[in-house]
């Protein structure tokens, strides 16, 4: 087909070239879909999960993806409520990333349950005391909102612009975007938190359990916070990658700098809080359950050793944080991007240890540590978000005005 160029003037590569470059990604997607069908038809025996590893790779992927998708709500918050209007040049993209992340998260959740056809029980027979219920409710609603937020960008498409109804729809939606963004932010605070709460409330699992405020364990707030910190970094990273692939400048440096700076401050403050939380947990919470905190890290040092703590808090926390808040750090191109990457790794690592170490760690004194390697089906399906993301971004970039300033920047 003939590539439809947004508002005419910006050149795009030929369809042939475009799809040829997309081919490997499509293959990756196909592999994932095959594995997905296997899991749905044959059941969860296709995975390497077991009665000890009830939560594994998939849940981790969910937590990580949603944290990284946090860029959408946080950028929205900054744009519409803290008047950082310059961010408008990246908000569309942030929202798109959000859409991708959340849709993949929902897909993986649908894979992870033993009876996918009963998914709606979670609304129908909701147990409001369960963090997972909170997650499910917010997630679905927020997903709708994300799509609405993405509507204007979609309506920018020339073909749709020709149709008055959609032209107006786009404009009007944009007009009340503040409202939607508002709800979105509100919901995000909750479901990001609830994801943290999921492990925090497990008072039967001394590694995960945290005291907290009212019904919310500290991890509730830490998760929201870290998502707000890592989300923008992820948006930045993807924008950068898009620039590299398209070979065009898409986002003005000042915007990147601003976003990097903000998430820098977020990560620093977050990691300080996280450190405080860890210390309190190690000295108060864990001992109450009869655990010397070192036990969590010394009994299977290879897989669940101190290195996790060091990597998460120091290498992926303070270091990138300091880099990003310092002007010099941000302006040193390579250093800046390394920092962005570290932040992303940090938040993923945090989710990883909170899920994996929690279940691998025996609570009964006479039980053993359990190890787990994901099956290829799990890996393939976990890669769906990647391939899907690339494809959606590519298509959107090709056919929509994803980056409003693309024209003047080139």
């Amino acid at each position: 087909m003939k590539a439809v160029i947004p508002s005419g003037e910006i050149p795009r590569c030929s369809s042939r070239h475009f799809y040829l470059r997309l081919l490997p990604v499509l293959i990756l997607l196909a592999w994932g879909i095959y594995a997905m069908l296997l899991v749905w038809i044959k059941g969860l025996n296709q995975t390497n999960m077991n009665n000890t590893y009830g939560f594994a790779l998939w849940i981790w992927a969910d937590l990580a993806i949603i944290a990284l998708g946090g860029g959408a709500f946080f950028t929205g918050l900054l744009t519409y409520f803290f008047g950082k209007t310059e961010l408008r040049s990246i908000i569309n993209f942030a929202v798109l990333v959000g859409v991708i992340c959340y849709s993949s998260a929902l897909l993986i959740l649908a894979l992870d349950v033993g009876q996918p056809l009963r998914f709606w029980f979670i609304y129908w027979h909701a147990n409001v005391h369960s963090m997972l219920t909170e997650v499910a409710f917010c997630l679905t609603v927020y997903f709708v909102i994300l799509n609405i937020e993405y509507l204007p960008a979609l309506m920018e498409h020339p073909k749709l612009q020709q149709i008055p109804f959609f032209k107006n729809l786009g404009r009007n939606t944009h007009a009340v975007m503040g409202l939607f963004a508002g709800i979105g932010v509100f919901l995000s605070f909750f479901h990001q938190g609830s994801l943290g709460g999921m492990t925090g409330v497990l008072y039967g699992r001394p590694f995960a359990y945290r005291e907290g405020l009212l019904i919310w364990p500290w991890t509730f707030f830490l998760f929201t916070w870290s998502a707000a910190a890592a989300g923008p970094c992820f948006t930045l990273l993807l924008a950068r990658l898009t620039e590299m692939v398209s070979g065009k400048k898409l986002v003005p440096g000042v915007v990147k700098d601003l976003l990097a700076k903000i998430s820098g401050w977020m990560i620093i403050t977050y990691i300080v809080a996280k450190t405080a939380d860890t210390i309190f947990w190690a000295t108060n919470t864990a001992p109450k359950a009869g655990f010397v905190w070192t036990r969590f890290y010394t009994e299977s040092p290879l897989y669940h050793g101190y290195w996790i703590l060091v990597a998460e808090i120091l290498i992926c926390g303070f270091i990138p944080g300091l880099i990003l808040i310092s002007k010099r750090g941000r302006h040193h191109k390579r250093l800046c991007w390394i920092a962005v990457l570290l932040v992303i790794c940090g938040v993923c690592l945090n989710r990883w240890s909170l899920i994996m170490q929690t279940v691998a760690m025996p609570v009964l004194p006479f039980e053993k540590w359990v190890f787990y390697l994901p099956s290829w089906q799990e890996i393939a399906t976990t890669l769906i978000p990647v391939s899907l993301g690339i494809i959606i971004i590519a298509l959107s970039y090709r056919h929509l005005k994803l980056f409003p300033q693309e024209k003047e920047l080139n």
Binding site: Q115, L117, F121, W124
Partner: protein, 695 residues
Amino acid sequence: MGLGASAGLTLSPLPWKLLDDLSIWTQNWPWVPIPKDGKETYQQSVCTLCPGGCGITVRKIDERVVAVAGREDFPINQGRLCPLGLSGPQLLYTPVRVMSPMLKVDKGYRQISWERAMSLLTSKLRDLRADGQPEKLACLADSDQGTTPGLLKRFLTAFGSPNFFQTVSADDAWEVLTEKLSGAQFIPGYDLEETDYVMSLGCGLVEGWGSPLRTMRAHSLWKERGTQLVQIESRLSGTSAAADRWIAVKPGTEADLALGICRVLVENGIENSQPFREILRSRYATEQVAKKTGVSPSIIESLADDFKHAKRPLALCGGGQGRSPVASREFIAATVLNILAGNIDQPGGVYRNKKYDYLKWPQTELDTRARNGLKQGRLNASPEDLFQTIADSQTSPIEMLLVSGVNPCYSCLDTENVIQAVQKIPFVVSFSSYWDETAVNADLVLPNHSHLERYQDVAVYGGLTEPKMGLSVPVSRQLFDTSYTGDVVLGAAKTLGGTISNSFPWKNYETCLKSTLSGQWQALLKQGFISLPQPGRTPDKGSLRLRLPKIDAKEIQLEGNIKEYPLILISKSSMRLSSGAAGSPPFMIKAVEDTVLKKNMGLVDIHPQTAGKMGLGEDETALLTTPRGAAEVMIHLDEGTMPGMVVISQGLGHTAYGAYLADKGVNFNQLMGPVKDPLTGQNTAWGINAKLSKV
């Protein structure tokens, strides 16, 4: 417009209806069975799956047997039940049942009618007699008591063959042993409930010893009353762990320790010690014993002291589940202890029970053919010997073998050899209800009803103070085209006619059973059991005289030289695995620990040091070799196993019984060979020398 439509649709009841249907569909999937409900009834019977003789209550929904539980009013198990008994329904409904008479054809088996089966059987029998060699008919049964084995034995006699064999059960072994040692046959009954100090020479008391449920109840009683249990065993078995005191003695020297203790007691001038004083003095000096057994003198003395000061001490012998013949030395040692304790025929002691023969049938009629056949005399003493002779000889001296209630191709020692022998026999008939190892090697399978479908009388000795006879009754209607083994025998006798048919005056098996138990029939139906009368049981203190020279009979030498086979292989029994004729049903296999079975690999317990010397670690595969055979096993490091020993589980390594049991683990019997007891000539092998090598 589209919007309106969707809005309307959402508000309409349609989506909710769909969701509802969806939920219903997701909740009961067609391939998840929904058990049919019906009228609930309970029926009582007696379990015949092991010699324990427990009473069972069977729960039925309409015709379906859905559960088997212990029978409250039954003295042996008092409402409790073991894993095997509880799995009863699985053994009733399992697809590995033999569902009709089966004839071996070039490939596999063909289903045939009973008429055809019987004519086949009788024509073969007729030929044997026509050729004037009735002694070439042999029969292997689980026992020589009970009506079914009784009928078989009687049939062989009338037919003219002396070759009736039974897999030697402990009870029969006792008679030989006691005869040889004390001149009077008896089966010891232990008053476990009344004793206050138990010294056990390696008995697996909580692992299925004697009548398993009764012994385990006694053990709980001990815990409540503070009865002391001393376990003399070379490994940390369940019993060793349950014991108040575990003496880790070198394997095979339990008797020495016991006699050492006797020596100390004698020195302390205990009564009744006259007859043994000299011999004990001369041979069982504490230091020697300590050296031999690896138990320090101080412990030996303290044990003797405890034994002496106990009110009603009791010594037990019979390793494992106590189902196989006991080595004469061990029995002597235990008996001397009991004599010194003066507990023979005393409360809390050992009762000398007589075997009670209730098969009071008229003399068997014999014709000349039969007489000549019987003149030949029995081919061998024990089944093991029989199979050995057959394996050794060019053409089998046995033309036809009937197998009832046993599974020699799995449970006889040196299994490979046995299977070869069985295959050598021209015509083998199995009466098994299941496709067990023997059935799949038989030429004709005439399936008996399963244990829940038939009448059966079971005499229970198993160390009971009061031997019992239980009656198992059909609780399920007959599921398949099966028939009583007894009826097969009666049918065959009728067709053969003459004296043979005259010797079997009964219409069918059930009438035979009824008339045999005529006196007790009603009582048996009512309470399920009767106590076997014990005439002339008079408490006579220490009247048991042992023939002195026998006191230190030679000990059993293990097969294989230590140079080549540095380790000692022994077996361990568990209540979670059936090592008898009945194969473990799926529930039991599911309950087996993953330190015993992993995937299809059987694990052996071995001390970390010993394994380390051979460079073997946890879960590594190794080749276990004995003079009789070799098998791949997995290593399980176990601190509780004495260094230098390898311990393997009984009841695994089946080749038949279908996907839930076949090809899992290693069959201990296949690695073992029989070893004769110097005194009784019975097989009393307790282990074998072995080696482990990396693979």
